[in-house]
Amino acid sequence: MAVETLITSLRGGDFQAEVLRGGSGPPLMYLHGAIGQKGWDPFLDRLAEEFTVYAPFIPGYSGSTGLEHLDDVFDLTLYHLELMDALGLDWAHLVGHFLGGMIAIDIAATAPRSVGRMVLVAPAGLWRDEAPVADFLALNAAELEQVLWADGHSPGAVDVEAAERAPELLLPERVQDLTAAGKFLWPIPDRGLKRRAYRIKAPTLILWGEQDRFAPPVYARDFARLIKGSEVELMPDAGHLLMLEQPDAFTGFVSNFLKG
């Protein structure tokens, strides 16, 4: 698959957005989670067979700059709407993982007409005292890796290449990534989307790894209650990084739902 890296300048250079683009078909914007994205992962490649996939790096990640100009979630939402404009997208399907899922919800609530269908993959944005999301700022790389995958994952059960890459994803050089996540998710990731979610018009699928030990699957029900008409799917034998662990099953769910 031919993949391009677009560098887009926004607001007179306050932001440089690094966006991966590949494939053809209806537009799909994939928003990565707190630990970022390594690059054009295999699941993006498979989605690109049916969609034109745009996978931007959130400001503060990789070559995307301007984090210091984003004070809160509203700033982050407006930034993404401007990015869609800059990419020439009147609308797109949204697929968002964790932090990216939270951003997708706010985009869909703020500008309902800009979103086709939406898949939220273990999104952040709500809080339960009895089921806290993992403290990603306090966990060191080794501890974080422990909670990112399904229980007892084995080379046979998961994408070997992805499993091997996880420590690399979490190298100390990449603290910059979690720096950005800390700005929007710390100390409690509830930043008010529950007051805004009623505006969402996009048909929504909430997809969660049954064995997600980073963001407990119990939140799937809470998001489903907030987003009218949404559906929930729990993926067996999958943890928080379900798209890396089970790329076939993951892309199956996503593409079937987006095609309606």
């Binding site: 700022l137 306090a138 501890e143």
Partner: protein, 403 residues
């Protein structure tokens, strides 16, 4: 030299196997481990120890702020400073300090510090730390990447609140106030001396030098590791062509003195309690992403500190901590020599002495304080006598005015 007595006010009754059974001494140790009746006795013993230090001739009494912490029981050091002010008259009262970004609005710090300065009749020294990640990020839920900016803004507001004589408004990013107008205002003019505790971040050096404040390195790593941080500070001073003055910097050192070298074994348990239980903190709480800038991480100063701390937590014994310089220990002769050596190596004029630590019982804490005052203090007192400090309450520098 300015020789200051520093107290952390540690909880002294952690279970024997604390470091094996519990995740951390800081941030998440359950407060079911805190016995309020024992706490009552501890607070009062600790205040006795501080008052005794003044009697013994220490120049200043230092307290600091920690949250969710079993080795430092002072979420509000200001309360302890207030209690000490009423029972002392000669020593500087040094709060090291209030983590400015944690106060909403930060004028609270301007007000409380002004109260302490007025109550003490101008014996007060104000400490403005950024604050450790354990206290600020994990204890008080601050966002790592914006903490420093919030701290700088709070500082500017406090200074303005101290120095403006008319009400003013403040339109900051983190604090907005229509009327800033503190009552009381500080006793010292334009405001109390300011000391900045830091942990080797390059930004803190820059900022402290820009504002001509005292840079304090408060670590438990001892002077051998501390030297890497203070050397960095002095090099930065030199690079910026600032004249050297040892009083521009401060350092905290653990010291125990006995009648003879052999007798220091009496402090064995206190030393091991302090390092094994008191510093039982997992690495993840020490350096959350965004707390230190990339620039400071790359400088490697903080990495060395983290490494030093990790080493402390392995299977070291009390004698290893002494060998490593974490604790300066011995009979008077040994301590005099090693401490004088440390002071000259570090080039510091403000020394903060941690003479009570860990579960050291009161009688040993008093003995250590007295032996230090009688047997060590006179021998290091005149180091740097050719320099003058600009960072000390003026009232305490004019002997005739001292009560």
């Amino acid at each position: 030299m300015k020789l200051c007595f520093f107290h952390l006010m540690p909880y002294q009754h952690l279970p024997q196997d604390f470091e094996k059974q519990y995740h951390s001494v800081w941030v998440d140790p359950p407060n079911s481990l805190f016995d309020p009746e024992k706490g009552h006795l501890l607070y009062n013993d600790f205040l006795d120890e501080m008052e005794f230090a003044e009697e013994m001739g220490f120049d200043g009494l230092c307290v600091n702020e920690h949250h969710n912490n079993a080795y430092g029981l002072m979420p509000s050091p200001n309360l302890m400073a207030s209690a000490m002010i009423r029972r002392t008259s000669k020593a500087a009262i040094i709060v090291l300090g209030n983590s400015l970004a944690l106060y909403n609005p930060p004028v609270r710090v301007a007000e409380e510090f002004a109260m302490l300065d007025v109550l003490s009749g101008g014996r007060f020294i104000a400490g403005f730390p950024l604050g450790t990640s354990q206290d600020t990020i994990f204890g008080y839920g601050q966002v790592p990447v914006t903490l420093r900016e919030k701290y700088y803004e709070a500082h500017d507001l406090v200074i303005k609140a101290w120095t403006e004589r008319e009400p003013f408004s403040f339109n900051g990013k983190y604090t907005q106030l229509r009327y800033v107008n503190i009552w009381p205002r500080p006793y010292q003019q334009p405001h109390p001396p300011i000391w900045v505790p830091g942990s080797g971040s390059l930004e803190t050096w820059d900022w402290t030098i820009d504002h001509d404040y005292v840079y304090c390195y408060l670590s438990y790593s001892g002077y051998k590791v501390g030297k890497t941080v203070l050397d960095g500070f002095w090099e930065e001073m030199e690079r910026r062509e600032k004249p050297f003055n040892p009083y521009h910097a401060g350092f905290l050192q653990l010291v125990v003195v006995s009648e003879t070298d052999a007798q220091v074994e009496e402090y064995k348990d206190s030393i091991e309690y302090f390092f094994k239980k008191g510093l039982h903190v997992p690495s993840g709480f020490g350096n959350p992403p965004g707390y230190r800038s990339q620039r400071s991480i790359q400088s490697g100063v903080s990495a060395q500190i983290v490494d030093a701390r990790r080493d402390q937590l392995t299977n070291a014994t009390w004698e290893d901590y002494i060998k490593a310089g974490n604790v300066i220990a011995g009979g008077p002769e040994t301590v005099r020599e090693e401490l004088a050596h440390a002071i000259r190596e570090l080039r510091v004029g403000n020394l903060m002495l941690l003479l009570q630590f860990g579960d050291m019982p009161k009688h040993l804490a008093l003995k250590n304080t007295e032996l230090f005052a009688r047997e060590v203090m006179p021998y290091v007192r005149d180091i740097w006598s050719e320099y003058e400090t600009r960072w000390w309450p003026k009232k305490l520098m004019e002997p005739e005015k001292v009560l």
